[in-house]
Every structure is written in C-alpha cells, then in structure tokens.
Amino acid sequence: MTERTGLFDKDNKFASDVHAVPSENALVVDLDGFEGPLDILLVLARDQKVDLLKISILELSKQYLTFIEQAQKLRLEIAADYLVMAAWLAFLKSRLLLPQDEGEEGPSGQELAERLAFQLKKLEAMRGAAEKLINGTITGRDRLKRGRPEGVTVIRHSKYECSLRELLTTYAQHEERKGIRNPLRLMRSAVFSVEAAIERLENMLGKLPEWADLRAYIPKELTDPFSIRSAEASTLLASLQLVKEGRMELRQTESFGPIKVRKTIRRDEE
C-alpha cells in the first residue's frame, strides 16, 4: 500500500480507501501505509459500517490491540506513538468495562469514548473534504481559462512583485547566514584574509598547470558582493606575495584586463 497516484486525477481514491483492513484472518499487516494511530483507528472504525458517533469504541479498541499484536508477532518496527495509543486504548477499555470508582478523577470511560469517536469523525470529515476538493471543479482542469489572453495583466495595486513567502524566507536566510547575535564572527568570516588566500593559492596552484585567470582561485561559495570584493583583493595580494617568493608567475596583457597566473616552471623540471 505505498502506491501514490496523482491526486488530481478524477475519481482518484485516497490511499486509505484501499487499505487492507486487518480482519480476523488477514495477517497482512503493513504499517507503512498508515499515517499514525488515528489513521488506523479510522480505517478499523469504518469496518463497523455505522456513523462514527455510534461505533463501539470497545470493539474498536479490541481490534486495534489485535492489530498491534499481530504487527508485533511479525516483528514489524512499530513507532512509539502506535504503542502509546495501544496502551491508552487498553486503559480506556478497562475504564469502559469496569464500574467507575467513586471519587475517580477525570472524565469517565464513556466520555473518553465519545471524545475519541468525535475525533475520528473530525478526521473522517477532513478526509472526505480533501477528496471532494480534488474531485470538485478545478480551474485549469475542469474549467479552463482563455488559451491565449491578449497579454494584458490585471490592474495591480503595486508595480513591484514580491510575495510574502519570498519576503520571509529572504529575511530568515539572510539572518541565518549572518548570525545576528555574533557580529564579530560575521566580520571575521566575511573578510577573506590574505593568509587564507595564500593557503588557497598554494593548494590549488599545482592542479592548474596552464595560465589561468586569477579569479578562478576565488572561493566559489561566496555570494555577497562584500565577501567577493574582499576575496578578490586578498587573492591579488596573495598572488603578488607568491610571485615575490618565486613560486608563481603573473601576467596582465592590458590595463584592467584579466590577470593570469601559473605555477613557476622550474628549468630542472622541464
């Protein structure tokens, strides 16, 4: 039961509708298809074929507990919340079966059973609603807009486009990138130091034997203009240092043209 079909195909049945309902003899227990204990309860409850508000919660509890037992026999991995539900239902069962103690606190077993039934009813209502929405009259599927509108746009209240989601994510990503509570750290990482640039050039130099644009040595992951500027400056300084040390050659054929670098080729290596 893992098949997921496109929900926008008409008359598509939801996954839950084809669950193998574990009756007495059905030993096929597959927890993967279920979305939590409430989902299983709803599938089991539908088996009683009455209004959910009139189902026997006692019967339902028994069925659920049997279901979990079977799953355990088959040594299926059972998530904790399924077991918690089992424990809770066992507790509810005992409350329903035993006469209520005088002075016992909290709602009675009957009340809890009603609440559970109502909860299931709520889930069922939403499930049905989702199905009705999908099988309703969908714009673009059942009712089409004009195929080639003249290209005239709606009168908008704003000339600029920006959705709330874009605004929120931009800010959050920016904040996260930066780390608002740690401005010193920000400055350290934003400025690409000459030392770091030398180290980077040294590591990469051997790998590029031919003339290569100095810009190729700038870390690719930098995105904000400030960091890129800083990296450009540091890398240039670092290259000058390496040239001075005789480890690198540098050339620029015209003013403001690209700066090319390569590893110094030693005579004895040639």
Partner: protein
C-alpha cells in the same frame, strides 16, 4: 434588464483579455464613471450561462472559464497537474476548513506530527499563507488559505467549501484541544506533536 451595451462590451473585453480574475474595482477603474458594474456583471453572467464559456466568480473576482461539462473536450489544453500527496491534501483541507489554524491544531486533527515538507509544498503551490497570531500563550502563528487556493478549487469564498456549513454547525470544525490523552498521565505526552523535533 437595461445595461448600457457599450459598457457591457467594455467589461466583456476586459474580462476576456485579462490573464487573472478581475475584481469589480479593477473593472470599474477602466470603465466610465457612470457604468453600473454589478448590473453589467449580472447581465454578462446570465448571458454566458449556457455558452461554451461562462462568467464565474472565484475568490470574489470575475473570470471567463470554459463550461465544466465540456472539460472532456479540452483535455489537450489542460494545465499540467500538480500532484499532491494525501497528507498534503488533507493538511490543505484542514487549513481551509479551520482557518485561521495553528500548526498544533492541524496536528491534532490528523493525529500525527506534520512533516516539514508538507507545509512547504502548500506554500510553494501558493495555496496557504500565515494569517496572524493566536492570542494564546506562546502566540502561535496561524495559517489560512490564499486567493489562489479559492481560484484553483473553483470557490468564491471559504464558505463555499463542500459541507462547510454542516460541519461548522455540528462542531466538527472546533479547534479546541480534545483533551483525549490528558487523563492518561505522562505516557500520553509522547503523542504531543510539539515534542517532535523539527
């Protein structure tokens, strides 16, 4: 019915040319000041009711759409479908019917924690939006549906959701905690969606 025929032609042309549904204000802004917009729209709606395309009101805005009974004819023109998982569709329904609704409330209806991808998919589709904050401790953000949601699902208003009034009347849309697992002591707390890591 006597609407100015020239005004009617203008509204017709506007609605026909627009890429998105138009609200009455936008139509009024283009038409002469004395144009009786509601009457024109009513006239056009009636006029096109039995044609190949109808004038429909979605999310409070007007748009010409092909008649639903002819959809079989137009399969080639359909827009490509967005495929939603059952969980996403169910979450969308919960948001639509319960809005404004908090994340915790959505989780209580489904009885499982919301995986992060779900809300993301719905946001990406442009169907949900943050609506504000609940005035309860922690001031959680509430969510609701967008205009695009209504347009896509062919609704004029949230109240037009299938079965909305009945569900509302029978209390199925209440978002108060069900208090179901409270009496069960500590163990039940692991059901608390808030405890799930994000």
């Amino acid at each position: 019915m006597s609407v100015n025929p020239e005004h009617t032609r203008m509204a017709e042309a506007l609605l026909f040319a627009a890429k998105e549904p138009l609200d009455e204000l936008s139509i009024a802004a283009r038409l002469p000041d004395d144009a009786d917009i509601p009457a024109i729209l009513e006239f056009l709606e009636k006029n096109y009711r039995h044609k190949g395309m109808n004038l429909s009101k979605l999310a409070g805005k007007w748009v010409f759409l092909t008649a639903p009974d002819l959809s079989w004819l137009l399969q080639d023109e359909r827009e490509s479908n967005r495929k939603l998982s059952r969980a996403a569709m169910e979450t969308l329904a919960i948001i639509a019917y319960h809005q404004p609704v908090t994340r915790t409330e959505m989780e209580e209806v489904r009885g499982v924690g919301l995986s992060r991808g779900i809300m993301d998919v719905l946001f990406d589709a442009g169907w949900i939006r943050p609506r504000g904050r609940r005035r309860t401790p922690g001031k959680p953000v509430t969510y609701g549906t967008t205009e695009d949601f209504l347009i896509h699902f062919g609704l004029d208003d949230v109240r037009d959701l299938p079965g909305f009034d009945e569900m509302k009347a029978s209390g199925l849309l209440n978002t108060e905690p069900n208090g179901l697992f409270e009496s069960f002591g500590d163990e039940a707390r692991s059901l608390d969606p808030e405890e799930e890591e994000d």
